[in-house]
């Protein structure tokens, strides 16, 4: 009896490892991106901090009729080959997802398709095997879709990635993707604002509104200890939050420009 019980417990543990670890693709720098097991068999009260996905972030920030599409501000697709650590790949999956969401809001089908394809390749590189389905790529390639339909496809694809990572206890990877997406959507917004709060008041309002999503990000990161990669990202988030507080205190050209420059420097470091 005891032997059977031990075997069952061992096999369940092994199955959990197999389901989570072997598919994780975290061999290159496994310490850096080791999954954090937050769930247990005896959950009574769970808390989920549901930070904005890059595509939702793009809609909230950039879905604005006064804005235009500017390909020059995207992270070039050719950059993806230089990301050779899991951390860089995760961050830039978020960055490319924000970019392709921006493209889709301006109904740029080809760019949306190309970037989705890149995200699919990068996701597979870090062991996310269930992200962008071929039928979604085909739908964007073969149909004339409006922006709402494209965002629905992008959101469903992102949900697949999110579900896969959650179910495999890889919260750290999804956190990095979300941070990358948050920074890139803000980068697009501040670039379109030309670092002036007067360029488009609606855009400025949307940029300022994102302080609350940053507060949720802070909440999600508040228990990060001893993880160098996440601590470094948390440090960036803290600096941006302080810049938000300055803007709240005194909304002037100088503070807005400083905020803008901070976003640009963080983003450029992430895509380097």
């Amino acid at each position: 009896m005891n032997g059977k019980l031990f075997y069952l417990i061992f096999m369940l543990g092994f199955a959990a490892f197999f389901a989570g670890g072997c598919n994780s693709g975290e061999s290159a720098d496994s310490d850096e991106l080791a999954g954090e097991t937050l769930d247990s068999a005896d959950i009574r009260e769970e808390i989920i901090v549901s930070m904005l996905a890059p595509s939702d972030m793009a809609v909230m920030l950039i879905d604005n009729p006064n804005l235009h599409f500017n390909k020059e501000i995207l992270n070039p697709g050719s950059n993806y080959q230089k990301y050779n650590t899991n951390a860089k790949i995760a961050l830039n999956i978020g960055i490319y997802t924000a970019d392709l969401s921006y493209a889709s809001l301006f109904e740029q089908e080809q760019i949306t398709y190309d970037y989705l394809d890149i995200v699919k390749d990068m996701s597979e590189e870090i062991g996310i095997t269930q992200s962008i389905e071929k039928r979604h790529l085909d739908m964007i390639k073969n149909n004339k879709l409006d922006k709402d339909d494209m965002i629905k496809i992008i959101n469903e694809s992102f949900m697949n990635t999110d579900a896969y990572l959650r179910e495999n206890n890889r919260q750290k990877v999804i956190t990095m993707i979300l941070i990358g997406g948050w920074i890139e959507a803000q980068y697009i917004a501040v670039s379109l604002s030309k670092c002036s709060p007067d360029t488009d008041p609606q855009l400025t309002e949307s940029i300022l509104a994102q302080k609350i999503s940053l507060e949720l990000m802070n909440k999600a990161l508040e228990n990060v200890k001893g993880d160098k990669t996440l601590l470094s990202l948390k440090n960036d988030i803290d600096k941006i939050y302080k810049a938000y507080l300055l803007l709240e205190e005194n909304m002037n050209d100088e503070n807005f420009k400083n905020f803008c420059n901070l976003i640009i420097s963080v983003r450029n470091r992430y895509i380097a």
Partner: protein, 146 residues
């Protein structure tokens, strides 16, 4: 050798059971969740807010909502689960919505400000002497672009 094969088969079976439990949650979101959301009116947000729970468990979901944006929040469970209760509160725990009063699975609202809210979902306790059921629960959030 024979017992080795038996172990591999049992392992494969356990992995399959684990994966199919996971697949149930995403299926719940994309079928029942999207139907209640009405994707012709609301774009489903991209985050996956679903997880397996047991009767008596609860979950809090922290989420940002933006001024002037119209949202629908849908809270549903797998077919074997009882009807779920949910409340939407602010961080000071002031109740903005309580499904115990409306008896609805969803809440439509326009956010009057930029705010972080908490969606608290409670799976009612199993009846006395009955084994608690477990299954997926999902919170599906959609926004309107109109």
């Amino acid at each position: 050798m024979k017992s080795g094969i038996k172990y591999i088969i049992v392992t494969a079976l356990l992995v399959f059971i684990s994966s199919s439990a996971d697949a149930q949650c995403i299926d719940l979101v994309k079928t029942k969740g999207f139907a209640y959301l009405d994707t012709s009116k609301y774009i489903p947000e991209a985050r996956f807010n679903a997880l397996p729970l047991r009767e008596g468990d609860d979950v809090d979901i922290y989420k940002s909502f933006f001024k002037g944006r119209k949202y629908r929040i849908v809270v549903i469970g797998a077919d074997n689960m009882p009807k779920l209760n949910f409340k939407v509160t602010n961080f000071q725990r002031q109740v903005l919505y309580d499904s115990n009063i409306t008896k609805e699975e969803s809440w439509d609202f326009v956010s009057d400000k930029n705010q972080n809210l908490i969606i608290s979902v409670e799976v009612p306790k199993a009846e006395k002497d009955k084994k608690p059921q477990s299954g997926c629960i999902a919170v599906v959030i959609g926004f309107s672009t109109e």
